[in-house]
C-alpha cells in the first residue's frame, strides 16, 4: 500500500498471480477448442484443483491481513484511537494533518492551525498522518502517487497515513466516491518541498 501503483512487493505478487491464473485458464480454453488431442479429465482432478484454489484463498487472506494490520498498527501506535481530544502529533508520525472533505474540495489544517484549501504541504519522505472528516456526504480520499484510497461516511473520522514521495513536486489528491455534480472537480495537491526529513 505504500508503493506507488503497487509496482513492487505484495501488490505485484497478487497481480502476478492474477495474470498466471488467467493465462492458464485461457490456455486451457484454447487447448480444449483447438488441440487435436482429446482428454477426458478424471473427476478427482477437480478436488486437486479446488485444493489449489483454497490454498490461493488462504495465501491472499494471510498476506492481505498482515499488510493491513501492519498499516493500521502504525495508527494505533500514535495513541489517539479515540478521537475525543485535539489531534496531537504522534511519536511515530512526522506530521499530522487534519483534512475536512466537503462538497466539493478538501481543506487541510496543520497542527499550527494553518488552513490551506487544496494543498497539503509536506517534506520529502515524511510519514504523514491524515485525519479525515466530512460533514455532508460520503466522500473518498485517494493519493495515486502513494497508493492509498479510502471511502468515508459523514460524521465518522478516518485516519490514513502515507510516506510522502522522496521526489519534490505536486502530487494529485482526489475524491474517488461520487459525491454530487462537483465530484470531478474535487481535487487537491500534495505538495512535497523542502529538505528531506
Amino acid at each position: 500500500m505504500e508503493n506507488a501503483l503497487g509496482a513492487s512487493g505484495y501488490t505485484a505478487t497478487m497481480m502476478a498471480l492474477v495474470f498466471i491464473v488467467l493465462g492458464l485458464g485461457i490456455a486451457a480454453l484454447f487447448a480444449a477448442l483447438y488441440l487435436p488431442a482429446r482428454w477426458k479429465l478424471k473427476y478427482r482432478m477437480e478436488f486437486l484443483f479446488v485444493g489449489l484454489l483454497v490454498l490461493m484463498v488462504w495465501y491472499a487472506d494471510r498476506e492481505s491481513t498482515a499488510m493491513y494490520k501492519q498499516y493500521q498498527g502504525e495508527i494505533a501506535k500514535a495513541g489517539f484511537v479515540d478521537a475525543e481530544g485535539e489531534a496531537r502529533e504522534g511519536d511515530n508520525f512526522d506530521r499530522v494533518i487534519k483534512v475536512v472533505a466537503f462538497q466539493w474540495g478538501f481543506a487541510f489544517l496543520t497542527d499550527e492551525d494553518e488552513i490551506s484549501r487544496n494543498a497539503a504541504v509536506v517534506k520529502p519522505g515524511e510519514k504523514v498522518l491524515f485525519r479525515i472528516f466530512a460533514n455532508d456526504v460520503i466522500h473518498g480520499f485517494n493519493i495515486p502517487a502513494v497508493g492509498i484510497t479510502a471511502e468515508f461516511d459523514p460524521g465518522v473520522e478516518r485516519d490514513l497515513w502515507i510516506t510522502a514521495p522522496r521526489e519534490p513536486g505536486k502530487y494529485l489528491i482526489q475524491c474517488l466516491n461520487y459525491c454530487g455534480v462537483g465530484h470531478a472537480q474535487m481535487k487537491a495537491w500534495l505538495v512535497v518541498e523542502g529538505e528531506e526529513a
Binding site: L17, R38, M67, D153, P154, G180, V181
Partner: protein, 524 residues
C-alpha cells in the same frame, strides 16, 4: 440432437418446430397474451430496446470522456446519462433478457407443458415498463447506487419518481423470482432433485436470489422516497439518520443483484453447450455444487462493496474478505466444468459454425478475464491501494456483465432465433456482430483495467490531461463504438432475416461433422 442420456440430468433438448411467432403476433397478443413464448419474446424485444437506449447513453458519455476537459456535456446531464445507463443496462436489459431467454427455454427443458404462473411474468414485465418510463421522466443523476445523503440533495422536482421507479424494479424482479422458483420447484418435484436438469437448478438458485434480495431494494426505495419527501429521516445523518443502515440494506440487494443475470446465463450455458456438442456436461454434480455455493455466498459477501470503512473492519471485514475470496471456488468450478466438457471429445463442425456457440466460447473467455481480478478486489489491502472506486471496479463488472452475461444472452437470442421467427439469421452478419463485439469488449475491458491501475476515478465528467489517462480513454471510446456498431448489425440482422432469411425447417442446430478431419479418407 443431443444424446438420450442427456435428458436425465441435462433436461430435454430445447427444440421446437421452427415457427414464426414474431411475425404472426398481433399487438394484442404481444401485450396481453399469457402464452409463455409470447411473454418471453416480449421480454427479449423490450430488453433489446433497453440495450439500445442504455448503449446510446454510454456512447454519448463515452464521447465526452474520449478527451480531457468538458466538450459536450455539463456535469449534471453527464451524470443523468451515466445513471440511466447503469439502471437501464442492469434493471432493463441484462436481467430481463437472460430471464426471458430462460422463460422461453425452461418449460421445454424441464419437460413441462408451459410456464407455470405465466401471469406473474406478465405482471413483472408491465411493472418494469412503468419503471423505465418513470426513470426517463425523473432523469436521476445520483448514480445507480444513489448513496444518501448525496442523493437526497441533488436533482429536480421529479427526482422522487426515480425512487418509485426503483421500488417498481424491486417488485418486478420479485415477481420474476416467484415464477422461476415455482417452475424450478415443480420440475424438481417431478424429476426428483437428483435428476433435476441444470436449468432447473439455475431457476431455483435464481428464484431464491431474487426473492431473498429484492425486498431489501424495495425497502431502501421506500425510505429513500420518504426521506426525499422530507417525511422521514432514515438515511440522512444531518437529520438524525444513519448512512450505514442504507449501506447494509442496499448492498444486501446489491450483491445478489450482480448474480441475478449471472445465474440464468450460467443455466443457459449449461443447456446450450450439450446441445451443440452432442454430449452431456462433464460433471453434473460439480455444477450443482457450484450453483448451491454461489447462491449461499451471494447473500453473505455484500459488505465488500463498502469496505474498508471503519464499520466493516475487524471481524466482519476479515470474514467478508475470506468469503469473497471463496467465491473464486464455485465460479471456477463452473468454468472448469465447461472447459472439461469442451475437451473430452471432438467439437463438431456444426458447432464451430454456429454463431451462438461462438458467443458461448467468448462468454467463457470473458468470465475468466473478469473473474480473476476478483482475487485482488477481494483483498482489503489491495482494495485500499488501487481498487476501491477506481476504474478497476467498472472493469471487473463490465467484463462480467458485458463479456459474460451479455454475450451469453446473445447466444440465447441467436439460438432461439429460428424458433421465434421460423427463419435463420444471416451467418455473415452474425459473424461480423460477433467479432465487433469481442474486439470491442476486449479493448474496453483491458483499457478500463489499465485506467483502474492508474487510479482513474469513477463517475467523473472531466479529468486531468495525464498521458496515462487520456490515451486509454480514447482507445476505450473506440472500443465502445465498435460494440455499438456490432449492436446495429445485430438489430439489422434480426429484422431483415425475420422476413428474408432462409426458412428454418427440422432441426436448425443438427449436429454434423463435415470437417476434413472427420471425413473418411478417400480410397486410393
Amino acid at each position: 440432437m443431443a444424446s438420450p442420456h442427456d435428458t436425465v440430468r441435462m433436461g430435454e433438448t430445447p427444440h421446437w418446430e421452427p415457427e414464426d411467432h414474431i411475425g404472426t403476433m398481433s399487438l394484442k397478443t404481444l401485450l396481453f397474451s399469457h402464452d409463455y413464448r409470447h411473454i418471453a419474446i416480449k421480454g427479449m424485444l423490450t430488453s433489446i430496446v433497453m440495450l439500445g437506449l442504455g448503449g446510446l447513453m454510454a456512447l454519448l458519455f463515452r464521447t465526452e470522456l474520449a478527451m480531457p476537459d468538458i466538450q459536450f456535456f455539463d456535469a449534471r446531464p453527464y451524470m443523468s446519462l451515466m445513471t440511466l445507463h447503469g439502471m437501464f443496462m442492469v434493471f432493463g436489459f441484462i436481467i430481463p433478457l437472460v430471464v426471458s431467454v430462460m422463460y422461453f427455454m425452461m418449460p421445454k427443458v424441464l419437460g413441462m407443458d408451459g410456464l407455470l404462473w405465466a401471469k406473474g411474468a406478465q405482471w413483472s414485465w408491465w411493472t418494469l415498463v412503468v419503471a423505465a418510463v418513470l426513470l426517463i421522466i425523473s432523469r436521476p443523476d445520483f448514480t445507480w447506487t444513489f448513496y444518501p445523503p448525496m442523493s437526497l440533495r441533488v436533482g429536480g422536482p421529479l427526482l422522487g419518481l426515480g425512487f418509485l421507479a426503483v421500488l417498481l424494479v424491486a417488485i418486478s424482479e420479485f415477481l420474476a423470482g416467484m415464477v422461476l422458483l415455482r417452475n424450478g420447484l415443480a420440475a424438481a418435484k417431478k424429476t426428483g432433485w437428483r435428476k433435476l436438469p441444470l436449468m432447473g437448478w439455475g431457476a431455483v438458485s435464481e428464484g431464491i436470489l431474487l426473492i431473498g434480495s429484492t425486498p431489501a431494494l424495495g425497502l431502501v426505495a421506500v425510505f429513500m422516497f420518504t426521506d426525499w419527501m422530507q417525511w422521514s429521516a432514515v438515511y440522512d445523518p444531518a437529520r438524525g439518520g444513519n448512512v450505514m443502515t442504507f449501506m447494509f440494506t442496499f448492498w444486501f440487494y446489491g450483491h445478489p443483484a450482480v448474480y441475478l443475470p449471472l445465474m440464468p446465463a450460467i443455466a443457459v450455458l449449461y443447456t446450450l453447450l450439450p446441445r451443440y456438442l452432442g454430449r452431456p456436461i462433464w460433471s453434473y454434480w460439480s455444477a450443482v455444487t457450484a450453483f448451491s455455493i454461489l447462491t449461499v455466498l451471494a447473500f453473505v459477501v455484500y459488505p465488500h462493496h463498502f469496505q474498508p470503512a471503519e464499520s466493516v473492519s475487524g471481524l466482519i471485514g476479515r470474514a467478508t474478505q475470506i468469503l469473497t475470496l471463496l467465491i473464486f471456488v464455485p465460479s471456477t468450478l463452473h468454468v472448469f466444468n465447461w472447459i472439461a466438457t469442451l475437451w473430452f471429445d471432438t467439437i463438431p463442425a456444426s458447432a464451430k459454425r454456429a454463431v451462438p456457440f461462438k458467443f458461448i466460447v467468448a462468454s467463457i473467455f470473458f468470465l475468466m478475464v473478469g473473474g480473476v481480478t476478483a482475487y485482488v478486489n477481494a483483498q482489503i489491502a489491495t482494495d485500499s491501494d488501487f481498487v476501491h472506486n477506481t476504474y478497476f471496479v467498472p472493469a471487473h463488472f463490465h467484463a462480467m456483465f458485458v463479456g459474460f452475461m451479455a454475450n451469453m444472452a446473445m447466444a440465447g437470442v441467436y439460438y432461439l432465433y429460428p424458433y421465434m421467427t421460423g427463419r435463420m439469421y444471416s451467418q455473415g452478419l452474425g459473424n461480423t456482430h460477433f467479432w465487433f463485439w469481442q474486439i470491442g469488449i476486449f479493448v474496453k475491458v483491458t483499457m478500463m483495467y489499465w485506467l483502474g491501475y492508474a487510479y482513474f476515478p469513477r463517475w467523473v465528467v472531466d479529468y486531468l490531461p495525464l498521458k496515462e489517462w487520456a490515451m486509454p480513454q480514447l482507445i476505450l471510446t473506440g472500443g465502445a463504438y465498435l460494440i455499438g456498431l456490432g449492436f446495429i448489425l445485430f438489430v439489422f440482422n434480426f429484422m431483415w432475416s425475420a422476413s428474408r432469411g432462409k426458412a428454418a425447417t427440422g432441426d436448425p442446430w443438427a449436429i454434423s461433422d463435415d470437417s476434413p478431419a472427420a471425413a473418411p479418407a478417400p480410397a486410393e
